[in-house]
């Protein structure tokens, strides 16, 4: 089964999102910041979808995406940002880095579950 990686410095959000995905039959792993997310993605080639926060310590979510596409040369993994940030400039930076979509928190799982399934398949 392909795996989904949830990257957020808040354990509340990690538990909520990963718990929701597992409850709905999807395989989910978690990372605490962009640096951890990058390491987990490098170690697990089965990850097909990354759901990531933007503002995090050590490495923010958008820098992580730039490194996924650049340093890891991974052009295929789908990345969705899940964040309280909603500025057009940040979305543009995300789009330029290869982000597939943007969700403004709070997380409403039922609204996005089927799209997550498709992006993770």
């Amino acid at each position: 089964m392909s795996k989904i990686l949830v990257v957020d410095d808040s354990s509340t959000v990690r538990d909520e999102v990963a718990g929701f995905l597992k409850k709905n039959g999807l395989d989910a792993d978690t990372a605490v910041d962009g640096k951890d997310g990058l390491a987990k993605l490098k170690a697990s080639p089965g990850i097909k979808l990354v759901i990531s926060d933007v503002n995090m310590p050590n490495m923010d979510g958008l820098t992580m995406v730039e490194k996924i596409r650049g340093e890891l040369a991974n052009k295929t993994v789908n990345v969705i940002m899940l964040t309280t940030e909603s500025s057009p400039a940040m979305k543009e930076r995300g789009k330029a880095a290869g982000v597939k979509g943007w969700i403004v928190k709070p997380f409403k799982g039922d609204a996005v579950l089927e799209t997550f399934r498709k992006l993770a398949s």
Partner: protein, 182 residues
């Protein structure tokens, strides 16, 4: 300089965001009452031994949203329910983050260059140091959830240029949670 209508707009945006994001259940009540502006930086006048601080920054202003809380049985019981395993501050920080995010989302309609900080916790004894920022606007509120659970809030805005806008909070659109595909 922050005009009177801009101050009123910051206040209305805060109220709307707090009412939408601070209650844990949709049916919970959230009463917000102003506290004397001079009390906003007085530790003894505001409820809560600790504060969560978040910042919204733009080219023309920096806004600090400060949420005061006591980690007592009432607050823990309200936000954690019966879940004793979840760390209270983790849960409460995310609630505050969502409240600030709702303010940020509304302010983006008038200021397209906004960025948010991550939340951090300080002792309420730090509040008097807000004066050192020479804020152009400070307002404070008591927040009561479900008639008894007490929080408090302070908004502090420092302007680097004239700030003037009128927020239309009546038409605040709820788009959070939706996936915008690129």
């Amino acid at each position: 300089m922050i005009t009177a209508q801009a101050r009123d707009s910051f206040e209305r945006i805060f109220r709307k965001a707090a009412q939408a994001r601070l209650p844990i259940e949709p049916g919970d009540t959230c009463e917000i009452a102003p506290v004397g502006a001079g009390d906003a930086t007085r530790t003894d006048a505001m409820k809560g031994a600790q504060v969560v601080v978040l910042t919204i920054s733009s080219i023309v202003f920096r806004l600090l949203l400060i949420l005061h809380f006591d980690e007592n049985d009432a607050t823990r019981g309200y936000y954690l329910k019966d879940d004793v395993e979840r760390p209270f501050q983790e849960v409460f920080l995310e609630i505050c983050n969502l409240c600030c995010g709702a303010m940020n989302q509304e302010l983006l309609r008038y200021f397209p260059d906004l960025g948010m900080s991550t939340p951090y916790v300080l002792s309420a004894h730090c509040l008097p140091y807000l004066r050192e920022l020479n804020p152009d606007f400070v307002s404070a509120y008591s927040v009561t959830l479900n008639g008894s659970m007490q929080l408090a809030a302070t908004i502090c805005v420092c302007a680097d240029a004239p700030v003037d806008f009128v927020a239309d909070t009546s038409a605040m659109e709820e788009t959070s949670g939706e996936l915008e595909l690129f």
